[in-house]
């Protein structure tokens, strides 16, 4: 999967908190200007993956593996080097924009910091550029609102401000960690559209973290599905959506609400995510899997390439796909009915 043009590549990324592993070797690659969706239930390690990559986890976290940005390993980089990367090469925005912005500093100040750090701007130039960014993300009356504080904006506006702040350093990659979860349904679509728009205009790459496979497949070329600290399936969104291979992915898609229905929190696969302190033997999804048998409890399934550009980690599904390609779709239908 290694390719010369990749912007960011995570290799065997593991994270442990107080001796408990929550990430078990994540490999993922992102092309320059590419878009990657990262989906999975709560606690599957989506946030930790990218916080670890940027060195933003608390010091008690033990991070191993490699995080390559244009071939440079960020896990081995100095704190100073990381400060230049954070916001300058890779920016990140978070779930709850209201608490992600500092309540006692003006918007101008908070965007201005990024402009000063990564673009070397000062004085008047900061004000002008901050205004341009606010215009870009669709904050009306930008000139005047620069001197306002976060509590004077709505949740959606605050997320727009976060996006403006992320764009300030002209990053090559924006990691958006559930940027719409805390927002009203009507605002969610607007923010996703905005992300898509700025991505097209700037040509930066995007990682979109979400619970919602539907959201991700609309915005991203590629999707990685995470379960219990591992990527269980990864591939082009259209292929993965049309023909999900891993039982967990199929469960996620089966749990999607009907197209005409209102959107709700998904994931109605029976059972819960395993406790990272007491992981099941073998495949972590086996206890909830409709197809699991003895083989699943024996060993961690290895990651197999099932088509060019698609990989997956499930012992049974690999067999099944080898046996017959046609049977998979009928299986998927049965699961949908069961879940």
């Amino acid at each position: 999967m290694a390719s010369a043009s990749s912007l960011v590549r995570l290799e065997g990324l593991t994270v442990a908190f107080d001796g408990v592993r929550v990430l078990h070797g994540v490999d993922v690659e992102l092309a320059r200007g590419g878009t990657l969706g990262l989906v999975g239930e709560s606690g599957s390690g989506k946030s930790v993956t990218w916080l670890a990559a940027l060195g933003l986890l608390p010091t008690k976290a033990r991070v191993e593996g490699r995080v390559l940005l244009d071939g440079e390993d960020l896990l081995a980089a100095s704190e100073r080097r990381l400060d230049a990367v954070r916001g300058g090469r890779i920016a990140m925005i978070f779930q709850d924009p209201a608490s992600a912005l500092n309540p006692v500093l003006t918007i101008r100040r908070q965007i201005g910091e990024a402009l000063a750090l990564h673009r070397g701007l000062s004085g008047r130039a900061i004000g002008a550029e901050a205004k341009r960014l606010l215009d870009l993300v669709g904050i009306p009356d930008a000139e005047r609102r620069l001197s306002a504080y976060p509590h004077e904006f709505s949740g959606g506006q605050n997320q727009r401000i976060m996006i403006a702040m992320a764009l300030a350093g002209r990053p090559d990659l924006l990691v958006a960690d559930e940027p719409t979860t805390a927002l009203d349904v009507t605002i969610q679509a607007q923010i996703l559209d905005l992300l898509d728009l700025v991505r097209r205009e700037t040509g930066m790459a995007l990682v979109l973290i979400s619970h919602d496979l539907g959201v991700v497949s609309q915005t991203c070329d590629r999707v990685a599905v995470m379960y219990a600290g591992r990527i269980v399936e990864e591939g082009p969104s259209d292929r993965l959506f049309a023909d999900p291979a891993h039982p967990y992915t199929r469960g996620l898609i089966g749990a999607l609400p009907p197209l005409d229905g209102s959107r709700r929190r998904l994931v109605s696969i029976a059972g819960t995510v395993p406790d990272p302190k007491a992981p099941p033997p073998g495949c972590a999804f086996a206890p909830r899997c409709l197809h699991s048998d003895r083989r699943c409890a024996v060993a961690q399934p290895s990651v197999e390439t099932i088509e060019p550009g698609r990989r997956m980690a499930c012992v049974l599904a690999v067999h099944r796909r080898e046996e017959s390609a046609g049977a998979a779709s009928s299986l998927a239908r049965k699961e949908t009915a069961a879940s």
């Binding site: 940027l54 400060d83 916001g87 006692v104 500093l105 910091e113 904006f153 300030a168 350093g169």
Partner: protein
């Protein structure tokens, strides 16, 4: 804003009125000033004359109304002991008290806040635990005990510093340290927990995520937020500048307002006690008021409460 000011003023006035009334009731119900000041052996006609001249023969609520009326006229009465205006007696003690409490306040702030910030940034390390253990000790040990221990060590054993009186500036060192240590401890603990709260906030992660070096994230993002709760405690300490030295002044025989209060209470010297309490209440109310103003400056969410809701 005008409403806010009016409300604050009303609350302040109410506080002062309550304190003054409470002191009047307690002092007048607990003992007869005539007997306390003249002694139980004094002839009855002398006592009667004393009572008459101070108005003590009137019904208690008449005395109370007279007293309140006098306050409104700006008269705080005279000491029953030597007949001098109470305000004069109190005023001449204030410099001595401030000579202790102001340096002690500087000590509390100068040591307490940096120690708290420092401990929060090195959470869980040996030094953090050491600072916090000291802080617990500092505010559980009563100041008279600490004062006596300091006297034992530095005056009696080592003979470095005087144990009481106010002849030279060296006399002030032990009382200042005694007062400062406890306050610094309180402030250190409080600052530490305020900082820890702030450091765990998502906006601190945002600051790092945009590439702000850690030291600058602390200075520009954490400290201004942690200052908001810390100002409350500092404000409270400012409020005790006048009356906060009662115990320490007694231990070190320092002739300040606190000592005067102790003597006046035991004499049931109503005017003097009232005068001091009035002063104390007024300082408290004033410092509270300043704290509220500071909140508005430090926390834009409060300052623009009415304006922000419109958006």
């Amino acid at each position: 804003m005008a409403r806010w000011f009016a409300l604050r003023a009303l609350r302040g006035a109410l506080t002062v009125a309550l304190v003054v009334t409470f002191a009047f009731v307690v002092l007048r119900m607990s003992a007869d000033p005539a007997l306390v000041i003249l002694g139980p052996e004094a002839p009855p006609e002398v006592i009667a004359a004393f009572r008459k001249s101070w108005g003590l023969d009137e019904p208690i609520f008449v005395q109370y109304l007279d007293y309140v009326a006098a306050i409104f006229r700006g008269e705080l009465g005279r000491s029953m002991r030597d007949g001098r205006p109470a305000i004069e007696l109190v005023a001449e003690r204030i410099p001595a008290t401030l000579a202790l409490t102001l340096p002690a306040l500087a000590l509390k702030i100068g040591i307490g806040i940096p120690a708290g910030v420092w401990a929060s940034l090195h959470r869980g390390t040996l030094v953090d635990r050491a600072v916090m253990s000291l802080a617990v000790a500092g505010f559980t040990v009563p100041s008279f005990v600490l004062g006596l221990v300091l006297v034992l060590v530095f005056s009696v054993k080592l003979g470095w510093l005087p144990s009481g009186g106010q002849d030279t500036w060296t006399h002030a060192i032990l009382p200042i340290v005694t007062m400062g240590v406890g306050g610094a401890a309180v402030l250190a603990r409080f600052t530490r927990s305020a900082m820890l709260e702030v450091l765990g906030q998502p906006y601190m992660r945002t600051a790092s995520a945009k590439g702000l070096p850690w030291a600058r994230a602390i200075r520009d993002h954490a400290l201004p937020n942690a200052a908001i709760p810390t100002v409350t405690i500092v404000g409270f300490m400012v409020g005790t500048l006048i009356a906060g030295a009662v115990v320490v002044e007694s231990v070190f025989s320092w002739p300040g307002v606190g000592r005067l209060l102790v003597v006046a209470v035991s004499n049931r010297d109503l005017a003097v006690v009232q005068c001091i309490l009035l002063l104390v209440a007024a300082t408290m109310v004033a410092s509270n008021f300043v704290v509220d103003l500071l909140y508005g400056l430090l926390d834009p969410r409060l300052a623009t409460g009415a304006r922000g809701a419109g958006h």
